[in-house]
Assembly symmetry: C2
Homo-oligomer: 126 residues x 2
């Protein structure tokens, strides 16, 4: 069963997108495996303290994008073979690295400063 304990919702972006991204990252990292069972919409919405429809929207998107499979009436399952996981991982990491580089350039932060900053921040506690 996929655990959503690590999901900390914030108000910066729509909740359904945070749920989608959480599952994508889980697949990318390998923490969420192919064929794994998902909690039901009702159970997950209660766990996260959000509306069942919000979870349904997230799961609907995930199914459209081919990352889960749902049969009406039964539980849903993760669909993430190694090819899919590798592709998602590549997409997400590239996208985020590019966004950071672009943003730092806008602030006239050099490549060296950026690398040093990330290296330093990496060791911080949360």
């Amino acid at each position: 069963m996929v655990s959503f304990e690590g999901l900390r919702l914030n108000s910066g972006s729509p909740i359904y997108r945070q749920i989608v991204l959480y599952l994508k990252k889980g697949i990318a990292s390998g923490h969420i495996a192919d064929g794994e069972e998902l909690p039901s919409r009702r159970v997950l919405s209660a766990l996260l303290g959000v509306n069942p429809n919000t979870v349904q929207k997230a799961f609907g998107i995930l199914e459209e994008e081919g990352m889960i499979r749902s049969h009406s009436g039964a539980r849903s399952f993760v669909k993430a073979d190694s090819d899919v996981a590798g592709r998602i991982r590549m997409e997400l990491t590239l996208e985020q690295a590019r966004a950071l580089a672009s943003s730092m350039k806008q602030m006239s932060v050099t490549r060296e400063q950026t690398l040093e900053l990330i290296d330093r921040v990496w060791g911080e506690e949360e």
Copy 2:
């Protein structure tokens, strides 16, 4: 006069927030200097193709946060001495570096992989 030519609006986040962030980054980089004149709400909204109220919302936030000053009737000006600029720069870069580190960790990407990825992406054309 502050130029907003580099501002490319996208649909990923609210427009007023994009305007706020653009000016903050400009101050952080030093491209937007203390005391510089800002375009009027009407002129800027026409330039960006958005509603004057959207620009007003962004400028209202910027004034609340002490990054511009407005006198009713006259133009507005940037308020960004070196202390302010340095503080904003520190806040934004730290925030973004932390977000990236956190995100990469969620995908089980190592520190070395992250640094290598950013180093590689930095040299890409846009």
